[in-house]
């Protein structure tokens, strides 16, 4: 078992810091489009702070070793990838099919992704029903009671 408190080189943290130096440079480049000096002075100061902090983190990780060893990730990666894809699909399909249909499908997919215990007939009936109830309740709460428009779907317009 790995020791969680021993210092290490914190490779992911170092990579993240390098990525954000890149992001900082990109943001700096965007400030050239700002014509008014008042618009870019503050953003540039923040970008410099970001880059300096990233350099400090990289320096600390490389020279002294930084952070703590991170526990290896439990659980399967496909579940997390599945969750992200399901959410992406929701954002893509919601304007077309509307909140209720896409919400119910999303809830169903997410139940499958997050289900760990063995499926029984009772659960197979109860969980989708709970999902449908929750989605419809949210729709009623937001769209009907609070008058917050939720997408009805361009397919049904």
């Amino acid at each position: 078992m790995s020791n969680t408190s021993a210092p290490n080189k914190d490779l992911p943290g170092t990579i993240l810091a390098f990525i954000f130096i890149g992001v900082g440079c990109l943001a700096w480049w965007d400030t050239f489009d700002m014509g008014d000096s008042d618009s870019y002075v503050f953003p540039r100061a923040v970008i410099v702070t970001l880059i300096v902090c990233c350099l400090l983190l990289i320096g600390r990780n490389i020279i002294w070793g930084g952070g703590k060893n991170h526990k290896p990730l439990d659980g399967s990666a496909w579940r997390r990838i599945g969750l992200v894809l399901a959410m992406l699909g929701t954002a893509l399909l919601m304007p077309v099919f509307g909140f209720i249909i896409v919400g119910m499908v999303l809830f169903g997919v997410l139940i499958i992704i997050a289900m760990f215990e063995p499926w029984t007939r009772k659960l197979a009936i109860a969980y989708p029903l709970i999902g449908a109830t929750i989605v419809i309740s949210f729709y009623l709460l937001f769209a009907v009671l609070l008058n917050v428009t939720l997408p009805t779907g361009s397919l049904f317009d």
Binding site: V46, A91, A114, I130
Partner: protein, 500 residues
């Protein structure tokens, strides 16, 4: 003229006003607990309903929503680690670990009672010392707001993180995210990369739901094999001995809350963080380590953010300057009802001041009642199987994000922030400073520019004023101390002193 006491008790004695305040507080508690539904949004919607109402009825309802809403954010922060309002970010630091230990009932009970005490202190200061506090709050210059915002971001980084550099990095990133969109002073596009979609900017609630909600759902997938934690629900209302133990801390942090709340443009978020910092520094023997479910870490922010409600009313009622976004909407409501908010409000319509104070007090009592009831049902949320909990968090996140601007682009942003927040979380970075950066970034930006304009664009004068003006010098010293206290050298020195 009738005496102020009769105006104070008007909402208590009139059954209709009593009902309005109760309904508003009840709605506020539950609206505040739903991601995407902010108190500002709820009060704004209510204004349109109250056009034709009597001013007192409208005020009673809105005051209730405000008081209940500020408290409501703590519930999802404790139960799901989703702070529905910026003022609940600090609550989640120790509240969620308590729920993970099966103590959500106790946590909500203590949070409710301490919110009540905070609210009470805020209202008392409003009633007794409003003009005095207001005068002092107006002495704060733009550079002081800049310093306050920087302290706020650094506080959350240093409070919960292992490294100050990581906290500053996360805060700076948040400020950059908060600056995406049109420049508030020149309307020039910043970090938009010529994309029309990005010109609208990124709403902080989108970032908050992504970083907390989606990231939490992704993190939950790591623990599918562990059963949901059974919550201990023997007692929701905390014992008097427990309340008595935390009252001194609650009162101290409430005063922090009132004062920060009284500063125009700030609010419960900075107040709660400063209170949390105060608790961490002043409590020598916490119930548990801070960040791992210390009750003191819950008491301080909850007292402060509700005390900030009374504070926010101080500049509004005495000077017509909104203390925060909600009181800005209130000012609009007063105009609609034919009143003229400003320095003359208290002279021309003193009854309005005392009526508001009375309604706030009543709403605070209702908040205590509604806060301590219905908890058992709410707590079932954390006990439900993960196959239901994860979809529930994500559906709530989608609806909440979409509801902010009725724009599906926000859902993409939320997802992006969620994935990014998940990686930050697993690699030991704090998401709190990112959110604080998104929220306080615009305040920092505008304050810096106002400050530099006030010194005729002279950076030297700007820096000089930072150390010569008493308030700025005090805040600068606090900032320097905050940074120095996070350096390894200072930590080694304090450890050595403690061991001696």
């Amino acid at each position: 003229m009738e005496n102020p006491i009769s105006y104070f008790f008007m909402s208590w004695s009139d059954p209709y006003l009593l009902l309005m305040t109760a309904a508003g507080t009840f709605a506020g508690v539950y609206v505040g607990a739903i991601p995407g539904l902010s108190v500002t949004m709820a009060v704004s919607i209510l204004i349109s309903f109250t056009f034709s109402w009597d001013t007192n009825e409208a005020l009673a309802l809105m005051v209730g929503v405000y008081m209940g809403g500020v408290y409501g954010g703590s519930r999802t922060a404790i139960l799901l680690n989703i702070p529905c309002a910026p003022s609940a970010i600090a609550t989640a630091i120790d509240g969620y670990p308590l729920a993970k230990r099966g103590e959500a009932g106790t946590a909500i009970g203590v949070a409710t009672v301490m919110s009540f005490i905070g609210g009470l202190v805020g209202i008392l200061v409003l009633a007794v010392a409003a003009p005095l506090v207001s005068e002092f709050a107006l002495m704060f210059a733009p550079r002081d707001y800049l310093l306050l915002a920087v302290i706020g971001i650094l506080l959350v980084g240093s409070l919960s993180g292992e490294s100050l550099a990581k906290g500053v990095f996360a805060g700076a990133l948040g400020v950059i995210i908060g600056m995406v969109g049109l420049d508030p002073l020149t309307a020039e596009g910043r970090f938009t990369f010529d994309s029309i979609t990005m010109m609208g900017g990124i709403h902080y609630v989108t970032a908050m739901i992504g970083f907390f909600g989606v990231a939490e759902a992704l993190a939950q997938l790591h623990h599918l094999e562990t059963p949901a934690i059974k919550q201990k629900l023997e007692r929701i209302t905390p014992k008097w001995s427990v309340v008595k133990r935390y009252i001194p801390l609650s009162i101290r942090t409430s005063f922090i809350g009132v004062f920060i709340g009284a500063l125009p443009g700030t609010g419960g978020d900075i107040a709660a963080l400063m209170a949390y910092d105060h608790a961490k520094r002043s409590v020598k023997d916490p119930s548990r380590k801070f960040g791992e479910g210390a009750m003191e870490g819950l008491v301080a922010p909850e007292s402060a953010n509700n005390a900030a409600v009374g504070g926010a009313y101080i500049p509004m009622l005495t000077l017509g300057i909104p203390g925060d976004a909600v009181t800005a909407v209130f000012i609009g409501a007063l105009y609609i009802h034919g009143l003229n908010p400003g320095p003359m409000l208290m002279i021309e319509t003193p009854h309005l001041f005392w009526f508001t104070v009375g309604a706030l007090m009543l709403a605070n009592v209702f908040m205590l009642i509604f806060g301590l009831t219905g908890v058992r049902l709410f707590i079932k949320l954390v006990e439900c199987p993960r196959a239901i909990l994860v979809p529930l968090i994500l559906i709530l996140s989608v609806v909440g994000t979409y509801a902010i601007q009725n724009n599906v682009v926000d859902v993409y942003w939320m997802l992006g922030f969620g994935i990014f927040g998940y990686f930050l979380k697993i690699y030991g970075y704090q998401v709190g400073p990112v959110i604080l950066g998104v929220i306080l970034g615009p305040l920092m930006d505008v304050s810096y520019r106002r400050a530099i304009i006030s010194t005729r664009e002279s950076f030297g004068d700007f820096m000089l004023e930072m150390v010569t003006n008493p308030i700025s010098a005090l805040l600068s010293a606090a900032l320097v101390f905050l940074v120095v206290s996070q350096t390894p050298m200072y930590k080694r020195w304090t450890n050595k002193r403690r061991s001696v």
